[in-house]
Symmetry: C2
Subunit: 181 residues, 2 copies
C-alpha cells in the first residue's frame, strides 16, 4: 500500500463538504466574478473539478493499469467544463461535485489496488513517465491547488475595499504561479 | 450601509464550517506539519484565527468608534496564539474558532453600525489612517488569506509524492508573497 493512500483518500472525502460549506448561498460577488480577462470564476473552478472526476483521475488510473506506458493518456481538456456548467446554478454544481467524488471513491476502492500496483507506470502526454502512485497523490494536491485558487479569486474581489491592508495580505499578490489547471 | 457589508458578513459566517469540513479528523500529515523552519502548521493557523477574533477585529472596530485617529490600535501579537493552542487538539481549536466567530458576529450586529460609521477613521500602528469600512473588509479577506495559506501548507506535504505533476500545480510554487499575517 502506498504510504500516502490513506491520507489521500481522507482529503478526497473532505473536499466536497469544504467547498459546500464555504460557497453555498454566498452572494455572487464571491462566486461569479473572476480575476479579469478570461480567468475563471469560482463557479468555473467547481465545473473544472467535476470534469476532472469524469475524465481525469479514475479514467487515468484505469488507463495505467490497462495500457501502462504503451499509450499516453488522452489529453485533459482544460475547457471541458463549459458544457457541464451551462444553465446550472452553483448549488447544482456543488451537488454534482459531491456525487461525482463519491462515485470516484467507490470506483477507487473497487479497484482493490495492491502494493505493486502503485508502482505501475503510465505515460502523460506532456510530462512523460509517471506512476500510479504519483497520479493518486496529485488528485488531492489538485484539490488543494484549486482551493488555493478559489481563495485567491475571492480575495481579489475585495482588493480595493481593504485599502492599505492590501500590503499585509499575501493572497492579494498571488498570480497563481503557473498556467491554471 | 457599506456596499460590502452583507457579503462580508456572509463570508465570515461560512469560514468556520468550511475549515471544520476540510480539517476535522484528517490525518496529521495534513494538519501538524509545516513548510519548514519556523513556518506555521495548519494547527497554528487555526490558533491565529481564534486569536484574531479575541484581539483584532471587533476590538479594533470598537477602538475606531471610541478613539478615532487620536490613538493607534494596540499592535496585534502575531505569536499570540501560542498560549491558546497549548495542549489543545485540532478539534478543540475548530470548535473554539466557531464559537469565537459567532460571538464576534453577535457583537458586530449589536454595534448597529450606521452609514456614516463606515467612514470613521482610525490609526493603524504601521499602516496609518484606515477606515472602519476597510477594517471590516479586511476581516473576510484575512480569512481567505489564511485559507490560501492552509491549502499551500497542506499541498507542500505532497510536494515529492506528486512527482512530475509538481510543474502543473501552482500551489507548490507559492511562497505566500508577504510576511504571514
Amino acid at each position: 500500500m502506498s504510504a500516502h493512500f490513506e491520507s489521500t483518500v481522507a482529503l478526497l472525502e473532505h473536499t466536497p463538504a469544504c467547498l459546500n460549506a464555504l460557497l453555498r448561498d454566498l452572494p455572487e460577488i464571491w462566486t461569479r466574478r473572476n480575476e479579469g480577462g478570461s480567468t475563471w470564476t469560482v463557479f468555473d473552478v467547481i465545473g473544472h473539478l467535476i470534469h476532472g472526476e469524469h475524465t481525469d483521475w479514475i479514467p487515468r488510473a484505469r488507463w495505467i493499469l490497462e495500457f501502462g506506458e504503451s499509450s499516453p493518456f488522452p489529453p485533459f481538456d482544460r475547457e471541458g467544463h463549459a458544457r457541464l456548467t451551462r444553465n446550472k446554478s452553483l448549488a447544482e454544481l456543488l451537488d454534482a461535485f459531491a456525487d461525482a467524488r463519491s462515485q470516484s471513491l467507490r470506483d477507487l476502492r473497487a479497484m482493490n489496488l495492491q502494493a505493486a500496483d502503485f508502482e505501475r507506470r503510465g505515460r502523460h502526454p506532456v510530462l512523460g513517465t509517471v506512476t500510479l502512485c504519483q497520479l493518486l497523490a496529485t488528485w488531492p494536491a489538485h484539490d488543494l491547488n484549486h482551493l488555493h485558487q478559489i481563495s485567491r479569486i475571492m480575495a481579489h474581489q475585495y482588493r480595493s475595499a481593504v485599502g492599505p491592508w492590501d500590503a499585509f495580505l499575501g493572497v492579494m499578490h498571488c498570480d497563481g504561479h503557473s498556467a491554471p489547471g
